[in-house]
C-alpha cells in the first residue's frame, strides 16, 4: 500500500462544531484528493490539490474547505458540521493521470 495515513480514523462530533481531518502522504505525489462515500452515491470528490497552496473544488464542496501548506499534508475542514456530513471520508493521492491511491478512511458521525 502507498504511504497514506488519515487521522483521526473515527470521530463523533456535535452539530455546529468545527472538524478537521488530516491526510498525510510519504510518497511526494503532486495531487491529493478528498472524497466522501455514502450508500448509493459511490465516492464523490469534495476538493483536490495540485500542489502546495493550490486547491480547487470538486463535485460536493459546499460546507468544506481545504488547505495544503506542505506537499505531504492535505487538511479537510468542516467549518460547522451538519448531520448531512456524516460519512466516510477518504483521502487519495496521485502522481499522474492514472491510478489514485486511497488512504484507510475516516468515519465521521455528526450527532
Amino acid at each position: 500500500d502507498a504511504g497514506i495515513t488519515q487521522s483521526p480514523r473515527h470521530k463523533v462530533t456535535e452539530t455546529g462544531t468545527p472538524v478537521t481531518l488530516r491526510c498525510h502522504q510519504t510518497e511526494n505525489h503532486r495531487y491529493m484528493y478528498w472524497y466522501r462515500q455514502d450508500p448509493g452515491h459511490g465516492l464523490r470528490l469534495i476538493h483536490y490539490s495540485y500542489g502546495v497552496k493550490d486547491t480547487d473544488k470538486g463535485e460536493v464542496s459546499d460546507g468544506y474547505s481545504v488547505s495544503r501548506s506542505k506537499t505531504e499534508d492535505f487538511l479537510l475542514t468542516l467549518e460547522s458540521a451538519t448531520s448531512s456530513q456524516t460519512s466516510v471520508y477518504f483521502c487519495a493521492i496521485s502522481a499522474q493521470s492514472i491510478e489514485q491511491y486511497f488512504g484507510p478512511g475516516t468515519r465521521l458521525t455528526v450527532t
Partner: protein, 112 residues
Amino acid sequence: GQQVMQIPQYQHVQEGEDFTTYCNSSTTLSNIQWYKQRPGGHPVFLIQLVKSGEVKKQKRLTFQFGEAKKNSSLHITATQTTDVGTYFCAWNYGGATNKLIFGTGTLLAVQP
C-alpha cells in the same frame, strides 16, 4: 452534471459462477478506471482503459471499453470468495489532474 451509471447495484453468486458489472454514460468518456473496495476497506485501483474497443485481462478479470466509449464492463470468470467487495468504475474528467467521477458501484457477494 455528468453521471456514470453502474449496474447491478448488488449481485450474489455461488463460488465458481461468473460475474459481470456494467458502467454506462450518456456521453463519450475519454477513459475509464476500475477500482475494487473490500468490505471495510479502501478503494484499490485495478486498471485504466483509454482506447475504443479496448479489452484487458488480469487473470480471471476481463475489462472492456465500448466501441463508442460510452460503456465499460468488468467480467470475473469463476468467482472466488476473495472476489467479494464493491467494484467501481470511474471516469477521469480532469485530464492531468485526474479528477474522477465514480459510478455507484456493484457489491459482489460470493457464497462458498
